[in-house]
């Protein structure tokens, strides 16, 4: 019997999120797990990562510091059996503190920050850990329905070493009042929604510098080689 608790992913079609209606497959996915087993995704070396790629408060400065609440976002990347995965590419992108994305198609009337891009990347260390410094993103309105607002969130893209390890997700902040109104967050089965919410971690804060949030990532499948 499959344990329903492990049913964590949203469906492809979730009509309250309107863009899914014309963009989700209508036919069942082909079960080909056995045929696609053990396919490698690329591994990146440290040299491709820039000095401030994991510090979004520094990687786009022009004439000063970005505006907003400086935070640290940190956690580990694991397989489904809790094995820590080193050398995994974690990429993030987000809105600035005013809820504005730098993307050219973004039309929300909130200020851009000349010192903030909102994108970063890094590799997990030998203990599977990553740490970003950034600015807490603001909420922003979107066109899904009347007065729709996205909760504060940071987008994550994770490239593990196997095809099934690929993950794109969003990290949310504890206690956001917009959870109850956001179809993207709600597309996830209720018991699993907590997995998308970072935990405030007092022990990880940098005193007099930045509060810390913990967000661990568990990838689909198990790693091919046991963790050393």
């Amino acid at each position: 019997m499959e344990d329903l608790n492990f049913n964590v992913h949203p469906p492809h079609l979730y009509p309250p999120y309107k863009s899914t209606i014309l963009r989700s497959p209508t036919k069942p996915l082909m079960p080909v797990k056995e045929l696609l087993k053990d396919l490698s995704l690329p591994v990146f070396g440290e040299s491709v990562i820039g000095k401030f790629d994991n510090d979004l408060t520094k990687n786009a400065r022009r004439n000063g510091e970005p505006i907003g609440e400086r935070i640290k976002v940190s956690g580990v990347v694991m397989d489904e059996y809790g094995r820590l995965l080193p050398n995994i590419l974690v990429e993030i992108w987000q809105a600035n503190s005013a809820g504005r994305y730098i993307h050219k198609a973004e039309i929300h009337d909130a200020p851009l920050d000349p010192n903030f891009l909102g994108a970063g990347r890094m590799l997990t260390d030998r203990d599977g850990k990553y740490t970003f410094y950034t600015i807490k993103p603001g909420a922003y309105p979107w066109g899904n329905h009347f007065n729709a607002w996205r909760p504060n969130h940071i987008h994550f893209s994770v490239i593990g070493h196997q095809l099934e390890h690929r993950l794109v997700t969003q990290m949310y902040f504890p206690g956001d009042p917009l959870f109850d109104f956001d179809p993207i967050f709600q597309s996830v089965p209720k018991p699993a929604r907590e997995l998308l919410i970072a935990k405030f971690n007092m022990d990880w804060t940098d005193p007099e510098f930045a509060l810390a949030y913990e967000f661990n990532l568990v990838l689909n499948g198990k790693s091919k080689t046991p963790f050393e």
Binding site: N5, F6, V8, H9, P10, P11, H12, T20, I21, L22, R23, S24, P25, T26, K27, L29, M30, K33, L35, L36, L39, S40, L41, P42, V43, G45, S47, V48, G50, N59, M78, Y81, G82, N87, E91, I92, W93, A95, Y101, I102, H103, K104, G118, A119, R121, H155, S157, R166, L167, V168, Q170, I184, V188, P189, A192, R193, L195, N216, V218, N220
Partner: protein
Amino acid sequence: MKKLRQTPSQTVGPFFAYGLTARQYGYDYSSIIDASLVSDDLEGDRIYITGHVFDGAGTVIPDAMVELCQADGQGRYRIVPIQQKNAGFIGFGRWGTGTTSDHCFRFTTIKPGSVAGQPPHINVILFMRGSLRHLYTRLYFSDETNDTDALLNSIDATRRQTLIAKRKEVNSTVEYHFDIYMQGERETVFFDV
């Protein structure tokens, strides 16, 4: 070992470009994964993988992100870490369909070799606003013998063609065209991975 719950998937959203495909879109940030799966100094004939992604109304999707992952000419997936200076055969590429005015994707690569007796193919991972979970599919080549492939043969015969990229020669370059349909009569076969 106690099994953990996976982190749920969420959509890539409409604004991934300045983070994941910055160079293609002209943002002031570097890209470590780009439209070419090989570095310029690698030997071998170049091929181009082109196509569009269509939604259920037949409209071209202008904000999808396509990733390709393939083996090298000898059928080996790259396992050596990719460094700035030893790129060579990378085997992994990424394209945002908002890059060009006609919203097509266009990758530069070499034809993969056969992996474990299977006909040459490229793994495709697809993301877009409105897609809550990324989708996997596979591209085969129209000028190869594909009829012995176990994966293709496990698919209903009427839908197999959705995975075959069509060869065409354009100004003496070899292009394989692979349109992806989210829905409709030609809905692409996607995999449960």
